[in-house]
């Protein structure tokens, strides 16, 4: 008689089925969040003429929007921790729509800053983070592919939005366009509706299943705790927590997990990425002006950006597939560091390209490198902290990145203005990114070794037959270990162990 092993092992993330539909929703949400601030730049000329402001004053709209999208990350994380992804995304879509519709009736540039910059930016932030979180919830084994596909939404949306915005501007003027764009942004609500929450549905099945052993139960419940991001399980843990003094910290950590700052992998990721973003966006912004500067006409310069976008679209899912392969997945952090360093090398070599053909080659490689980095941006964070803590991690990371993202282009611009030459900007970006890539590579090597050591220690403890742990003790140990371990590998290995136990069981029976 085969024991009902399948039933007692809790189903992990779906890794398929409705997951792909949810992934499509994430594709749309992420696409809007990243592409919209860039796409809205098409209206700047009209707005500048209308309000009689300088170009830089109008460009602030985009900067404020981008800053809010990244800076409101923690708010997004808190809301997702509290309410789940779906309501947050739908509310975000609604907020975007309201922001743009009210922008259509603005009478001053300050009102535009508020409507387009803050309100729409906040709405996009409420779209971006939950979408990325949903990928982590729906996928585990195929997560890199899902991440790559979802992040491909950004260049696809940009390619769609740019000509669409131009068409809207020609047909309806900027006011009408903002009105219609508000409606288009509300499609994020549709994307949000696709984010079916998983977890509570499967819990009912688990409770009926009897226990096979203490280990099995521990695995089950903790897996359940990992899937369900709602704080319902945490009060249980609170009660078992004997240290009462940490209750208030626990409460804050419920909403935004500040204990992540003790997580080695998280800190490595944070420092590396914050450094990287200093040189990440500036080359894209200055590529067209640089091309015009060395004598290429406007349309060919714009074509360079199109090449970049097309290569980007292809690169992201491809990187996802590569990152998912069994050779790369365990060492995905190295792959990420390599792609950052590759990106930096492209920038360092760019000043050597002085002809149009050279710039085309640069655009292709830049598009490739850009796509690689973006596709793995959130995948690596998920890999380091695990799906549960990812909710808070992504919020904390985005608000830290916000500063360097905003600083990057102006520093590049200052370099260009001071030296009168674009090559220093490229050299600066290249150096920063190569440094970031090297830093991540070295630190992740160290991290992988520490993880392997901790894994060995944990296995040694587990094998000890005298340690009969209670439910709570086991859970405490598990959660303590998850602060340092890469829980993803744990889950994957736990599945393998479960399979082994099944095999033992069947051989016995």
């Amino acid at each position: 008689m085969p024991p009902p092993a399948n039933a007692r092992r809790a189903p992990g993330p779906p890794d398929g089925g409705w997951g792909w539909v949810g992934g499509f929703g994430a594709f749309i949400s992420i696409g809007f969040a990243y592409a919209f601030p860039k796409g809205v730049a098409i209206f700047f000329k009209e707005i500048q003429d209308f309000f009689g402001t300088s170009y830089s004053e109008v460009a602030w709209v985009s900067s404020i929007m981008l800053a809010t999208t990244y800076g409101a990350g923690p708010i997004s994380s808190i809301l997702v921790n509290r309410y789940g992804s779906r309501p947050v995304v739908m509310f975000g879509g609604l907020l975007c729509g309201i922001g743009m519709v009210s922008a259509a009736f603005c009478t001053s540039i300050m009102q535009l800053y508020i409507c387009v910059g803050f309100i729409t930016g906040l709405g996009l932030a409420l779209n971006l983070q939950p979408s990325v979180i949903m990928i982590g919830k729906y996928f585990l084994k195929r997560r890199p592919i899902a991440n790559g596909l979802a992040m491909a939404g950004s260049p696809v949306m940009l390619c769609t939005l740019a000509p669409l915005n131009q068409f809207l501007l020609d047909s309806f003027g900027w006011r009408g366009s903002f009105l219609i764009l508000g409606a288009i942004l509300m499609n994020c609500c549709v994307a949000g509706a696709l984010f079916r929450p998983i977890g509570p549905g499967t819990a009912s099945v688990k409770t009926l299943v009897p226990e096979e052993g203490k280990d099995a139960l521990k695995q089950e419940v903790t897996e359940g705790a990992m899937e369900m991001s709602s704080p319902m399980n945490r009060p249980m843990r609170n009660k078992t927590e004997e240290d009462e003094e940490r209750d208030c910290c626990e409460k804050i950590n419920q909403y935004l997990d500040f204990s992540l700052f003790k997580h080695r992998g998280f800190l490595i990721y944070l420092i590396g990425n914050v450094l990287m973003f200093l040189g990440f966006f500036a080359p894209i912004i200055f590529l067209a002006p640089y091309a015009k500067h060395i004598g290429i006409d406007e349309y060919s310069a714009a074509f360079l950006l199109s090449i970049l976008a097309i290569v980007d679209i292809v690169a992201r899912p491809t990187t996802g597939i590569i990152a998912n392969s069994k050779w790369v997945r365990p060492r995905i952090q190295y792959f990420f560091s390599f792609s950052i360093a590759f990106n930096g090398t492209c920038h360092l070599l760019c000043p050597l390209a002085s002809s149009y053909a050279g710039l085309i080659v640069y655009s292709i490689f830049f598009g490739l490198a850009f796509g690689m980095v973006c596709a793995m941006l959130f995948e690596t964070l998920m890999d380091l902290v695990g799906a549960v803590r990812f909710t808070s991690a992504v919020g904390l990371v985005t608000i830290a990145e916000c500063c360097t993202i905003l600083l990057g282009p102006p520093i590049g611009g200052t370099l260009i203005d001071t030296f009168g030459d674009y090559k220093y900007m490229f050299i600066k970006c290249g150096v920063v990114m190569v440094l970031a890539g090297t830093f991540l590579f070295i630190m992740n090597y160290y991290n992988y070794r520490m993880l392997a050591k901790e894994e060995k220690e944990r296995k040694a403890k587990e094998e000890d037959p005298k340690s009969v742990r209670t439910e709570t003790e086991g859970r405490n140990n598990w959660t303590k270990e998850t602060t340092q371990d890469g829980p993803e590998l744990e889950l994957l290995r736990a599945e393998q162990e479960g399979l082994k136990k099944e095999a033992n069981g069947t051989s016995e029976v």
Partner: protein, 348 residues
């Protein structure tokens, strides 16, 4: 790489020849932001790309020989004594088409112009030829600057001096070059400005690099052209001079009648030049229809998705209820068997 060094605001050359391509130079002071061309009118054209390589460029104040037959170079010198500037324009013969080359010279103020036709060294084998400078049917006496260049001096003091000046080399082959002297053209906006009822319309006209003495705005009403004065309707039209070469017309409280063509006319020392703008006034219903359509689509999709989810959950619950029932039965019977197998596992 080159840099703008001191712009001479008076002149620039337009090359009307189809083969050269104009590049706009981005002011590197604005390097921080993505550079956009100036509103509506042509950006300052300072360089010509020759056969794909941006190697040779023209800078103001320097004479640079540019390869390629259909390009004009210019040179300007400030004469210290008078306020009248002297400018030189040169054409390299022959043109790309083989026989003639043209260029347009825009002048906004009184100048002394020296027009020179230079014969390309490749054609120096042509021996006996006659060089004639003409304007219309009148022949103008010219001076031989060098062995293969001939020039004339024209003092352009009023609009009567503007026109087409041509130099013709008659010999085995006939080569000619034509200088079109004219007032600067005001760039026209190709696309109409779209505004809404009750809103404000802002229209700009500019002639970059030239100084206009005055600007006038006209509105076309049917076939008539009406001058727009501020006195016409005081709180409706606001004309402001934003800078030496930019003028702005603001129309407040738009109505349907404001829809149509508008003209801005710049008066230069040497004549007048007009630019056309189109204004479209729409009612807010126009964008509202697509807006409502998209919002309805969003609501419908969300409703469909939620409905599908509720439906599939119901199906699941029915199926689950049956499965659970079966499972409970199954498990109850297995309970005793499980105890023994668990004990065996523990021993291992």
């Amino acid at each position: 790489m080159w840099e703008q060094k001191g712009r001479d605001p008076a002149m620039t050359t337009d090359d009307a020849s189809s083969q050269s391509q104009a590049n706009s130079l981005t002011n590197m002071k604005n390097g921080l932001n993505e550079s956009f061309p100036e509103p509506m009118t042509t950006t300052q054209i300072f360089s010509w790309r020759t056969q794909g390589s941006p190697s040779d460029h023209v800078t103001l104040g320097h004479e640079v020989s540019v390869p390629g037959p259909d390009l004009a170079t210019k040179e300007s010198k400030q004469t210290s004594s008078q306020s009248v500037t002297s400018v030189q324009y040169k054409l390299l013969l022959p043109g790309a088409s083989g026989t003639s080359v043209e260029t347009t010279v825009s002048l906004d103020r009184v100048v002394e112009v020296e027009l020179t036709c230079i014969l390309d060294k490749k054609y120096s084998h042509l021996k006996s030829f006659q060089v004639i400078w003409k304007r219309g049917n009148d022949t103008i006496s010219h001076t031989n600057k060098t062995d293969n260049s001939w020039s004339i001096n024209v003092t352009v003091s009023d609009s009567s001096k503007l026109g087409s000046y041509s130099c013709t080399l008659k010999g085995e082959q006939q080569l000619s070059g034509i200088f079109h002297l004219q007032v600067p053209k005001i760039g026209r906006k190709e696309k109409p400005t779209i505004t809404y009822l009750g809103d404000t319309a802002v229209m700009n006209c500019e002639c970059p690099g030239y100084t206009a003495i005055s600007w006038t705005w006209y509105m076309t009403n049917g076939s008539k052209q009406i001058t727009i004065n501020e006195s016409l309707l005081a709180d409706k039209y606001v004309i402001s001079k934003k800078s030496a070469n930019i003028t702005q017309l603001k129309i407040l409280k738009l109505t349907k009648e404001d829809d149509g063509e508008y003209w801005c006319e710049a008066a230069f020392e040497l004549g007048k030049s007009k630019g056309k703008l189109e204004l479209k006034v729409l009612s807010f219903m126009v964008p509202l229809k697509p807006f409502v359509a998209i919002v309805i689509e969003v609501i419908v999709l969300v409703a469909l998705i939620v409905a599908y989810e509720v439906y599939s959950k119901k199906k699941e619950k029915c199926a689950e209820a049956e499965k659970e029932f079966d499972q409970i039965e199954h498990l109850k019977s297995e309970d005793s068997g499980l105890e023994s197998s668990r004990a065996r596992q523990r021993r291992i």
